[in-house]
């Protein structure tokens, strides 16, 4: 059996008396899309924050490519190859779309303690950035100021930023949030194309997207995993239906 890319091992986190992550164990295998679903407030985003290093867990371990990264800072985990997108769009608003992505490519290229050369004219960085924008259909948006892009375009830009870091795994926190039906469908297809190259831990409310993309689904309720299985198993799991799917279709 192959080793998982990402292993969340008995992770626990409380804010005061509120236990937001309750002994959670999740694995992400190479080439896999593992979706995390659950009602609002189930602790999905907090879990992703702990994996990316934004929030420190109280207990448990996070292993990335077999290496314990629990004590590493956000930037060290990103350098190790953990790319992520945020539920609430997180971009550099005053930069152009191209510069946003080029900045991520620059992080990958290393050597950012350079003080004199005009980074905006570095062809290699810009070409990587253009390729990433192109992959997400933003090829003609590069020169626009990121803050002025449409909501859907900003969501895509976030993904482009994550891709430019040449990640070894992607943490996607509701990539479709706030998108229209057509936009979501397009993005689902795009992610389907990326799946082979980037293992994904996907948080998403859009069930169509989840059941199209996911190889495995875990249901998170009140900080704890109540069920894990293939999309088909989860669809038929009474606990999962009660906790989430029932609520969503009611």
């Amino acid at each position: 059996m192959t080793d998982p890319v990402l292993e969340i091992d008995r992770l626990t986190k409380s804010f005061g008396a509120l236990c937001v992550t309750d002994d959670v164990t999740v694995t992400l295998m190479p080439g896999e899309c593992h979706a995390l679903i659950g009602p609002n407030g189930a602790g999905k985003s907090t879990l992703v924050h702990q994996v990316s290093g934004l929030v420190r867990p109280d207990r448990g371990r996070i292993l990335f490519q077999g290496r314990d990264v629990t004590a590493l800072s956000q930037h060290a985990r990103a350098q190790a190859g953990l790319g992520r997108s945020f539920q609430i769009t997180s971009i550099i608003p005053e930069f152009t779309a191209l510069e946003n992505v080029a900045l991520a490519a620059q992080a990958r290229a290393g050597k950012s303690f350079r003080f004199f050369r005009d980074a905006g004219r570095e062809r290699a960085l810009n070409e990587t950035a253009r390729a990433c924008l192109g992959q997400l259909g933003l090829g003609d948006r590069g020169d626009l100021v990121a803050g002025e892009l449409s909501h859907g375009e900003k969501r895509l830009l976030e993904l482009a930023i994550a891709l430019a870091g040449a990640p070894k795994a992607l943490l996607l926190d509701e990539p479709m949030a706030g998108m229209g039906r057509a936009e979501s469908a397009t993005l689902t297809q795009t992610l389907l194309g990326l799946k082979a190259r980037y293992p994904m831990l996907l948080i998403e409310h859009d069930m169509e997207a989840v059941f199209t993309l996911a190889d495995r689904v875990s249901v998170l309720v009140a900080g704890a995993i109540v069920a894990t299985g293939t999309p088909k198993e989860i669809r038929n799991n009474p606990q999962a239906r009660a906790a989430y799917l029932g609520e969503a279709t009611a």
Partner: protein, 333 residues
């Protein structure tokens, strides 16, 4: 719309960049002409005024690297100017005249102080950062005031000038003036290069969204601390010139009012723009000169002006001038 067009200009859009370089060039040429003008009118007074303005501009440009590019509002930047000035003053007082000994000493003092205090201050953000930088500067201010060997609170009058490889470059008014002008041009070039460099791009991005920058794989802290040290070194250079120009150093150079002046200059001129700190410094010295001729309480007039500029002139004086120059550009973003 205007705001983003402005920031795009600051980020180095070619059209805005050319315009800003033109303005800076104009200012430098005008400054270079002041000694000539001074001979016709004022008898050296104008040169002295221009030197003071340029020294202030060097310090302000370095502060804008922190505020405008890095989003670090330091309320203790004058401390680094004072360290440079005291390095100069103490060296001269002790009979060390070579500028090649004085400058490294000034840089070492300011760099070390910035490294230590920056490493602590940069663990905080916002108002706490303002407070803690102010506290460190105040510590230094009182430490300087207690140097009884070097004049304590009264300061230290210097009876000779530094020596530049046997030449009297810093001894004549013209030589000193040209040295300061050259330093100003150099600092302006350096900081504007940094702004568009890989390093500057990380710094500017971290001001807008540090979490995003961290998840790209950058240690925001390291970039901010490096910028903090660079700014301190440039401020120390201004301090050395301050000592050389005034032939007098005192703790007042590093007082919190001086730090406040530097922030006012940066805001007045336009944060994070190519020429904001430069224009702001020249404007402050000019307006002080004009207003203090009218009334002793010139700050009563300057204060409301600052309020109006903060409220209405988005992007400060530099932004306002660029809008005058090319209104089409702000629509084209």
């Amino acid at each position: 719309m205007t705001a983003s067009a402005l920031s795009a200009a600051a980020d180095g859009r070619p059209a805005g960049r050319r315009c800003a370089v033109g303005i800076a060039l104009g200012i430098f040429v005008l400054l270079a002409l002041t000694p000539l003008l001074s001979q016709l009118y004022g008898g050296g007074y104008l040169t002295t005024l221009a030197m003071r303005a340029m020294i202030l501009a060097i310090a302000a440009i370095s502060l804008d690297l922190l505020i405008g590019q890095g989003g670090m509002v330091s309320f203790g930047h004058a401390a680094f100017v004072a360290l440079g000035a005291y390095a100069y003053g103490i060296a001269i007082d002790e009979g060390v005249y070579s500028i090649f000994a004085i400058l490294p000493a000034a840089f070492a003092a300011a760099g070390l102080f910035a490294l230590v205090t920056g490493a602590i201050s940069l663990r905080t953000r916002g108002v706490y950062f303002i407070m803690i930088t102010l506290a460190f500067a105040q510590m230094l201010y009182f430490a300087m005031g207690s140097l009884s060997r070097y004049g304590a609170d009264d300061g230290l009058t210097l009876w000779s000038s530094a020596d530049v490889a046997g030449t009297g470059l810093l001894k004549s008014d013209t030589g000193l003036f040209l040295s300061i002008l050259a330093a100003l041009v150099g600092v302006w070039l350096l900081v504007n290069r940094i702004a568009v460099s890989r390093f500057g791009r990380v710094l500017r991005a971290a001001r807008q969204n540090p979490t995003r920058v961290a998840t790209m794989g950058y240690s925001v802290f390291r970039y901010r601390l490096t910028a903090y040290v660079i700014a301190a070194l440039i401020a120390a250079l201004a301090g050395v010139f301050w000592g050389a120009q005034a032939n007098f150093v005192s703790p007042a150079i590093g007082s919190w009012q001086r730090s406040g002046d530097l922030i006012a200059i940066v805001v007045l001129g336009g944060m994070g723009s190519r020429n904001g700190a430069l224009i702001g410094a020249l404007f402050l010295v000019f307006i002080e000169e004009v207003l203090s001729g009218i009334t002793h309480d010139w700050r009563l007039i300057f204060g409301p002006m600052l309020v109006l500029i903060a409220l209405y002139a988005h992007g400060g004086l530099a932004g306002w001038i660029e809008r005058l120059q090319g209104p089409r550009r702000s629509g084209g973003g």
